[in-house]
């Protein structure tokens, strides 16, 4: 080769090499641009458009509600809403296990879905047809709601590509209607609507978390190390003061008694005297929170916290207590009373039974529940003082426990009392009270004059184990010990000598109890005739009170008076004393107070 050709060949090589280098440099620049300069944009773009990332919701578990012994009354489970994508509906080619092929028609598929979901096959076909008719491009229609996990599993096994499942946490109440009216319920969307579910939502509430991750495009497998987790926060546990076995017995018993007495409704309240804790709060008709719609809307809340009534004779012992505490009477003070009297101010008061003029002791007036005698005793204190005392016993003082929707009761100030009210307030009329207020008044007497605020909620335990005990408030001395003891003895004598003494007897125990009858308004400003709201409240063992029990029956028609509640009190007392292992003691009062002078 000559030198010229040699030189030109070298030049060509140089030029080619330079071109290659330039192109290479271009690639390098572009690579750096893609991989370094705009890396974040491209990653974001891939996550937006490509099927490269996934996320999964981490459900927080709403806290449980348990009774005093830890028995679960409310817990969480998963429910599934079922939807369908009408655009994908059609016949499916399937292969049997033996290898033969067949066509599964839409009708057959609908049948299979219907067997599991409970919606009829015709209904499913109609939903799909209607949706397509309304919008031929529709991709979604609801088929069923609140399917169980078992149904969800069975549906998934059908391998139908157009079924869409939407899981959601839901509540389940293992004990059904036991304490159902107290526990409350949630809406379908998981919002607490009533009862403890609502009142303690801040403790029970859970927060959902999320995990996001990158995944392989082809197989959808998570790429290790790419997970980013926002953990779910579970809710706390609410412990109630209830005993679920006791609660069940009371619900069963009051249901039978309400039916026996042909009453409209009934309640039982059991309270521990020393601690003020509500051990049972039963009612009939009751509500099963597992199936709220099955119950009458009137009885979905708590009758115990939601009823106001004129307490009637159950408040006569409260009048006696204020007279003793003010020192104007003793259990053996006397007054004369006829079966019916007109007082100088024009008010007329009658007893519930005909009798000649008796010289009643204060104890006797309570035993016979004489309105006339109580009116005369009550007059020993001026209206203002009696008003103050009723307020101290919680009348018109607002909610006792703080249950959602708890009523307050109501009393008119003493300055507005008319002639009839002047007397009626001595025997529990002309003002209204709630069941917890009456129970609280008796708890005060049974506990030696010290009121311990009633409580239904024991504590809230956070998921990390921190226990917050609910503070029901400080105990407060309302009556002196001597007064409380005198009233306790009088009540024991009422239970022993009163008209329902035989019916409320529990062998081996002495029971203190007082009945009450409230007239009901007919809605036109008058009282209903011959139909009453009846109640009885008592404590046992009378010489060393452990439990206060109150029974109410609304409009009993077999026995219309407060005696209707006696069998229920007897059963309730007997069961409470047995269930709580209270040992038998004296079966009658150590001092039998005389009724008459």
């Amino acid at each position: 080769m000559n030198p010229i050709a040699k030189r030109s060949a070298r030049r060509r090589t140089m030029v080619a090499a330079a071109l290659v280098l330039i192109v290479l440099a271009g690639f390098v620049v572009r690579l750096i641009d893609i991989q370094v300069v705009h890396a974040d944009d491209h990653i974001a773009d891939s996550q937006r458009t490509g099927n490269m990332t996934g996320s999964e919701k981490l459900w927080g578990t709403r806290g449980t509600i348990v009774d005093a012994d830890g028995v679960v009354l409310a817990s969480s489970t998963m429910r599934y809403d079922l939807a369908i994508d009408p655009a994908l509906v059609g016949d499916i080619e399937r292969t049997r296990e033996d290898g033969t092929e067949y066509t599964q028609t839409w009708d057959e598929q609908a049948d299979l879905i219907a067997q599991v979901s409970g919606t009829s096959a015709d209904e499913i076909k109609r939903i799909v047809a209607d949706t397509l008719e309304a919008d031929p491009d529709a991709r979604w229609a609801q088929l069923a709601k609140n399917l169980s996990t078992a149904q969800y599993q069975a549906l998934r096994e059908l391998e139908l590509p157009y079924l869409v499942y939407d899981p959601k946490p839901s509540r389940t109440y293992p004990n059904g209607a036991v304490a159902g009216n107290l526990i409350g319920f949630e809406s379908n969307d998981g919002d607490p609507l009533a009862g403890i579910e609502l009142a303690q939502d801040s403790c029970l509430e859970a927060k959902d978390g999320e995990v996001t991750f990158a995944k392989g495009g082809a197989d959808g497998i998570r790429i290790p190390g790419s997970e980013q987790v926002t953990p779910a926060v579970d809710g706390g546990q609410v412990q109630l003061t209830l005993d679920s076995d006791l609660q069940w017995y009371m619900e069963q018993m009051i249901a039978e008694e309400t039916q026996n007495q042909r009453a409209v409704a009934g309640t039982v309240t059991v309270v521990d005297v020393q601690t003020g804790q509500i051990r049972a709060a039963a009612q009939y008709p009751s509500m099963d929170p597992n199936d709220v719609l099955a119950s009458d809307p009137t009885y979905r809340g708590s009758l115990i916290f939601g009823t106001v009534f004129e307490p009637g004779s159950t408040f006569k012992p409260i009048t006696a207590a204020m007279l003793l505490e003010e020192g104007v009477a003793t259990p053996l003070s006397t007054t004369t009373a006829a079966g019916w009297e007109q007082f100088p101010n024009g008010a007329r008061v009658g007893d519930s039974f005909q009798h000649p003029t008796y010289t009643y002791t204060l104890a006797g007036a309570l035993i016979d529940s004489s309105n006339v005698a109580l009116s005369k005793f009550g007059e020993l204190l001026p209206d203002e003082k009696r008003y103050e005392w009723l307020k101290r016993f919680g009348i018109g003082g607002g909610a006792v426990v703080g249950f959602p929707g708890e009523e307050n009761g109501w009393i008119r100030p003493a300055s507005e009392w008319d002639n009839q009210t002047h007397y009626a307030t001595t025997f529990g009329q002309a003002f209204t009270a709630t069941i917890p207020q009456v129970v609280s008044a008796y708890q005060t007497i049974a506990n030696g004059g010290v009121r311990v605020p009633l409580s239904l909620i024991e504590s809230c335990t956070s998921p990390d184990g921190e226990v917050t005990t609910m503070d029901p408030g400080e105990p407060e001395r309302i009556l002196s010990e001597d007064t409380a003891e005198d009233v306790r003895l009088m009540l024991e004598n009422v239970g022993f000598q009163g008209p329902v003494a035989e019916q409320i007897k529990v062998p081996g125990y002495s029971i203190a109890a007082k009945t009450g009858t409230a007239q009901k308004t007919d809605g036109n400003g008058r009282y209903k005739s011959g139909i009453y709201f009846t109640s009885i409240v008592g404590f046992a063992p009378a010489e060393d009170p452990q439990y206060v029990v109150m029974i109410t029956l609304d409009e009993p028609k077999r026995v219309t008076s407060s005696a209707a509640t006696a069998p229920a009190l007897q059963k309730a007392m007997e069961y409470v004393l047995k269930d709580q292992r209270v040992l038998p003691g004296a079966s009658e009062p150590e001092t039998k107070l005389p009724k008459f002078k």
């Binding site: 067997q115 004990n175 069940w248 017995y249 039978e256 062998p507 007997e574």
Partner: protein, 213 residues
């Protein structure tokens, strides 16, 4: 005169060591007689370096393969866990309500058990009987069986029918047949349970004895 000054004087007087006089014999630079033989690079280093690189590459590939492998295992296990969770949920739903007092009471009532009135207590300290002291009656204070009034919708839940996927429109018929089969199985099960109930309890582990604390 201070001691320090004395010391300085003494040091000054001491004989100083002198460097030995350097001798310079002839030329200072001269040609190397023979270049040092060039050492051959040791093969060992090359082998180690190359082998190391290969080992690293192989290890990385191996680890990568293992990671990928375990990712699939992880995915499979996750799937298994999800299935197990669902199953556990299903089973929990199935037994929910069975421990409720109304269910236990109605079962007890159907066995002829009653809720008796007041019990008697045996006082251990003196052996006295406290309470009514009468034999238990046969009448229950509440009727948890026939007049059961405390509802629980969980107990009324029907088991989920397993749909039968048939090749033709016989699916419905087959389901009905399966239902009948299930009912038959149930009757048989009930019969077996009844037979078991009539047998005395097995005594394989000795007589049952109450636990005392």
């Amino acid at each position: 005169m201070s001691a320090a000054n004395t010391a300085a004087v003494l040091r000054a007087a001491a004989p100083q060591p002198r460097p030995a006089p350097e001798r310079t014999p002839g030329r200072r630079l001269h040609a190397v007689p023979a270049p040092a033989p060039r050492r051959r690079p040791k093969l060992g280093y090359a082998v180690v370096a190359f082998g190391g690189a290969v080992a690293i590459a192989v290890a990385q590939m191996g680890l990568s393969v293992l990671t990928t492998q375990s990712t699939y295992e992880l995915a499979a296990l996750n799937q298994e866990r999800r299935t197990a969770t669902l199953q556990a949920q299903e089973l929990r739903d199935e037994v929910a309500g069975l421990s409720s007092p109304q269910h236990l009471a109605s079962k007890a009532a159907s066995l002829g058990m009653v809720i008796d009135a007041s019990p008697s207590y045996l006082r251990l300290s003196d052996g006295a009987i406290v309470g009514e002291g009468e034999a238990a009656g046969t009448v229950s204070t509440v009727d948890a069986g026939e007049r059961a009034a405390v509802g629980n919708a969980l107990l009324e839940r029907k088991p989920v029918a397993t749909p039968v996927a048939g090749g033709s429109a016989e699916a419905g018929k087959k389901a009905a047949a399966a239902d009948q089969g299930a009912q038959k199985a149930e009757t048989e099960k009930a019969a077996a349970e009844k037979a078991a109930a009539e047998l005395p309890p097995p005594l394989t582990e000795g007589l049952p004895s109450p636990t005392t604390r």
